[in-house]
Symmetry: C2
Subunit: 278 residues, 2 copies
């Protein structure tokens, strides 16, 4: 059984690794990718192949940063039309239902079946159940093969867009909380209220503060990717919802944190220093 996973980032390679461990053959397309990505893909047991072999897979998973989701769908659709093949394409990315509809439109019925997937939780780790892959629009249970090969799949009611909506809502809360904590701890540091704030958070909302202490450093290397995800959430909420503005602000905040990381991580150091020993 051959499954293609497009995207050999932290999540894509770990998902592929879990499938390989459970007996699947997993191919991927690495043309133009960095040496470290190629290395990570090989370490996970992914086989680099040409686009034609990707198009020949029974199931293709797209697991890429949200800003790349549409381009991946286009690339695969072009190849399917060129070769006259049909397959099942599951977009697993953190994109809005609207962007998911765009992906589905790129795939006409001539290309096969499109599934709406979304991943909640971190990459699979040895000995852990790993993230949940939510799937909607999967009437024929095309995702069953993933369950057979060790993934935790939850099919949810609703057509294309339902799994994306779930992901938007969950990420809006979870990554939103990290963003609020990052923004306000930085503001406290810059206004000299940081030690008093830390003490108050520890006293009155200890669970929430513990979540921030864990979640904020975990975010630094992912901030660049979360920018587009926050923009997707803003798009999902739509212009008539005042909360859309919240996530435009979150996108700006994560852009700032991504830039901070490129620039040596001064802000990250300040946050880590405040939260150390907490």
């Amino acid at each position: 059984m051959e499954i293609a996973v497009i995207g050999a980032g932290a999540m894509g390679s770990a998902i592929a690794g879990r499938l390989v461990e459970n007996g699947a053959r997993v191919v991927t397309y690495l043309e133009g990718r960095s040496a470290s990505t190629i290395q990570r893909a090989k370490a996970a047991g992914m086989e680099p192949v040409g686009l034609d072999a990707v198009a020949a897979s029974r199931l293709i998973l797209s697991i890429v940063p949200p800003a790349e989701a549409v381009a991946v769908a286009e690339q695969i659709a072009v190849e399917l039309r060129r070769t006259g093949r049909r397959t099942t394409f599951m977009d697993c990315n953190a994109i809005s239902p609207r962007t998911m509809a765009e992906v589905a439109a790129i795939f006409g019925s001539d290309c096969g079946v499109v599934l709406d997937g979304s991943i909640v939780g971190g990459p699979p780790k040895p000995g852990q159940k790993g993230p949940k892959l939510y799937v909607s629009g999967d009437e024929a249970n095309d995702s069953g093969v993933l369950v057979e090969h060790g993934l935790q799949v939850r099919r949810i009611e609703g057509s294309i867009g339902a799994a994306s909506a779930l992901k938007m809502c969950y990420a809006g809360i979870n990554k939103g909380v990290t963003g609020l904590g990052t923004a306000m701890l930085l503001a406290a540091i810059h206004s000299g209220a940081d030690e008093a704030l830390k003490r108050e958070l520890q006293e009155s909302v200890p669970d929430l503060y513990a979540k921030l202490v864990h979640g904020i450093p975990d975010m630094y290397p992912k901030a660049y990717r979360w920018v587009a995800e926050m923009e997707e959430i803003s798009d999902f909420l739509g212009k008539d919802d005042p909360a859309a503005l919240i996530f435009r602000g979150m996108a700006g905040l994560y852009r700032k944190m991504a830039k901070d990381r490129e620039d040596g991580g001064l802000l990250a150091d300040q946050l880590d220093e405040l939260n150390s020993g907490a």
Copy 2:
């Protein structure tokens, strides 16, 4: 000992009640206030007096919605200048350090001493320690009289603005989390992802979901007041901070929830129905 408390809302009246229980005489100014406010003030043991008697108090606390903080300071300063009195004025409101500086500027040194206060936690309840009153700029320990009369006061380092900054940061996290939950649960309800989202939150972030289930209904009657507080936080962060936009969005969200309450609470009912039994 006479203390004036301006504002007989839920917080002002409960703070006054605590002071009265502990032997203080508390006066207030109720000209033009509603029957229910007058009733609440009297139930708390506050004595309605004229502005001249307020100005003659040894310590005046301003505990009003953030949008009214400057007007209250102006009203008191005018009266002090008219009567030639000096006193200590503590602004306890959820305002930005910049607005606090405006309040301090309204009081020249001819009016006496200005303290920066902020309240973290809900109104005092019988048998509970009640909220913390943070105070900065209190070099002469003018807040000591509040401690003697049963309030929990925490003096923090820093001058005028430090207590306000702490409040902005704490409220930004705490009320921000409630706002994120409100926005995304509503979005999930409107896109049919609500039951799947609820289950995922219960499974993966149970503490956070429990906080939302408690905090969201608690917010409905306060939403109108939180609008200005979110605008103060946005102002506090300043134009150069992308996170300022987050709180402009939060202000819009709470404006929507305040309007929903006026209109009969349809959105509140939807949220309560989803979270019931959670």
